[in-house]
Symmetry: C2
Subunit: 421 residues, 2 copies
């Protein structure tokens, strides 16, 4: 049907038909009832309102600032390759011939920046997103948080071989008591926790209610914050044997960093990445009821600032005239971990990948590694093609299976176009 797309048997308006500006969300004073989005009344991540809400998270939830610092922003050189890029056609993973702009629309893209050799060669904002507006990053947040953790490990501030209970005695009796910091960083923890977003009974929603990012029912008497929630998770299976992707690991990781350094995630990110990278906009985190930033997925940031981080990761940690991330930390991430442990997780669309320090490592001919977030968030670093892509989306399907069939093929095709150009 024209103007619709079908995923997992459900049909949705496509990217163009669900354009949030055309639909008029939250326009008017007051917005009409059928175009109004209120926390606790509508699901912020429901479709099609998600196409608006992901640019407005702070207007619904308490947040903490990630300050960009006092300096001027770092600048990008530009070379306009829009003509070549928009002429690109490719076969997606399901064998459909796709045109570039249809691929953007069919993955519900809100914005995309492509860097080649550090120059912006392509940049588009679609729908509600503008260049200066922070957009929800979801699990791209994890790659930021764990890069910080890897820096602390590199500096000897924390020893990745120690069990979590070393820093957090509160974790005794939980899944993390005897998990090492490295196992947490690589998501190799056996924990009784489900993250199937399509299942409304999944533990991820209990975690969201504890943290306050999802409305609590009347009379709610569950965990009051992230830390209280983490204390309820029991061990399930062995650690260190397989990738088992659970956002709560990132929350534990951030708790360790806070305990070890005394600094909040927001402040560490400001001092160690946002200011040194010369980011152009402040970012922010949603916070739980006791002010803890949601390290597992709560960051919102501007798209070019994601591109800055991706470019630093492409360039062995150097950007804006500084070594922002130690080269050894970047090399360790880019090298990945054991694909056999990753294979056990059963990601059919990511054959041969591994997962290291909360980055997804493709082990492909471009040395690609990615920060990936639900609904289409990406930092895609392809050193062999001297290419970085930062992309925001508001796809109706939380699983990456929604956009990966197009996105992975699209980004690989672009790497092929730019490589050696």
């Amino acid at each position: 049907m024209a103007g619709t797309l079908t995923f997992d048997g459900r049909t949705y308006p496509d990217g163009r038909a669900s354009d949030p500006k055309a639909l008029g969300w939250m326009q008017g004073s007051p917005p009409p009832a059928d175009r109004r989005i209120e926390f606790g009344k509508q699901a912020l991540l429901g479709f099609p309102q998600i196409r608006w809400t992901l640019c407005h998270t702070r207007e619904f939830l308490p947040t903490v600032n990630v300050w960009r610092g006092d300096g001027g922003p770092s600048t990008f050189a530009r070379e306009d390759l829009a003509g070549d890029i928009e002429a690109l056609a490719f076969d997606d993973l399901q064998g459909r011939r796709m045109q570039w702009q249809d691929a953007l629309a069919d993955t519900y893209t809100d914005g995309i920046v492509v860097l080649h050799r550090g120059r912006i060669v392509y940049e588009r904002y679609i729908g509600e997103l503008q260049a200066h507006v922070p957009h929800s990053c979801f699990s791209v947040t994890k790659s930021y948080a764990c890069t910080l953790a890897a820096m602390l490990v590199h500096e000897g501030v924390v020893d990745e071989r120690r069990p979590i209970a070393h820093w957090l005695p509160e974790m005794r009796g939980t899944a993390w008591e005897d998990a090492t910091l490295r196992q947490v960083m690589d998501m190799q923890v056996g924990a009784a926790y489900s993250e199937a977003y399509a299942d409304s009974a999944a533990d991820v929603w209990a975690y969201s209610r504890a943290g306050g990012t999802m409305a609590r029912p009347p009379g709610y008497d569950g965990p009051g914050n992230f830390y209280e929630y983490l204390a309820t998770i029991r061990k399930d299976g062995a650690h260190g044997e397989a990738i088992s992707y659970k956002t709560v690991n990132t929350e534990v990781l951030c708790w360790v960093m806070k305990r070890a350094t005394g600094l909040s995630l927001a402040r560490m990110l400001s001092e160690r990445l946002w200011a040194p990278l010369g980011c152009e906009q402040d970012a922010y985190f949603t916070v739980d009821p006791i002010g803890v930033p949601m390290g597992g997925g709560g960051m919102s940031a501007a798209l070019r600032d994601l591109a800055r981080f991706g470019e630093a990761m492409r360039c062995d940690g150097a950007f804006n005239g500084k070594q922002v991330v130690p080269a050894a930390v970047v090399a360790d991430i880019a090298r990945g971990s054991d694909p056999a442990k990753f294979a056990k997780a059963g990601y059919a669309l990511l054959p041969g990948y591994s997962y290291r320090s909360m980055w997804w490592v493709a082990h492909d001919e471009h040395g690609t590694f990615e920060a990936r977030g639900i609904h289409g968030q990406r930092i895609y670093v392809a050193p062999g093609a001297e290419m970085v892509i930062a992309r925001f989306g508001s796809h109706p399907v939380a699983a990456n299976s929604g956009n990966d069939p197009i996105t992975l093929a699209q980004f690989r095709a672009l790497a092929g176009l730019l490589r050696g150009r």
Copy 2:
């Protein structure tokens, strides 16, 4: 008693004894129970936690950004007059001899910037505040909002002689149906609404619950947002006869501006003041459940950015090489309105004042006019002394009677020191 101060018969730890850093609010992971502040569990404006919360409003409430724009910040020249200023002694309005630094402490000052001829001659941050951190402005927000309104009047976008129902048919049957826009701008509306902050049954708290800035009790079924609340306020007395300070007037004013321009207050402020002034930090507003910025008192901003606005107002609207506010708008504000109507409001500490476009006009020898917010917020513009003061505080008493006996005398003494220097 050493280390305490008494207001209205209640005794409080003084400024130094209530230093929020020394008290350790929200430190630790998690913060200990007696140093933890949670929305709905502790009053954000209770003392002494207010000394911390006013620098962290967004960590408790949903907010919308006021973007500073893409340009670099405007710069201030500096001349350090700290020695002369801190040597200043003066008699406060109660006849007590005060030293400058004691006056800062005894008014629970969080930060102060003094400009003389546009140069920063004094700048201090105390307790939780830092130069780049936005602090609650409370009713200083009103002066920003109404300066925008006066600009729209000047441009002919809205006619100040029209009744509010011209723009807002929803206001038929309320206090504002037949009030003119100018009467709203000058707070000369007869409305059944009480703003006595010390009275827990005052209407201002119902307004806060409607807007979501104060926690709602279980089963709350009152107005769901600011607009719904405004529709409940009935007329009480005549319009145009006396100053009657009611925050809801500013909310009505902002609703008119939104209806007339289609732009939110946050966006208008960004485009018309924050970007042209070259502000150095984004500001923000708390928003109600349908995303409406609280124009009556919901802004948080960095202190030097308040100083920029004050300096523009001192300089007939010109700043950063631009005419940011039309000179005629500034002149109309500085000229004030009828002191006889102001006198009826019974502000014992403000004899001879008037109120114009939500600025407080002293009619003194320096041509002083002020933006004033509870708990000690100020932009103090004294053109005759070529002086602007921006000051943030977290005074335990919401009424300005708490700090005015010191602050007014202190700022006048400083104007005397700097005038003609």
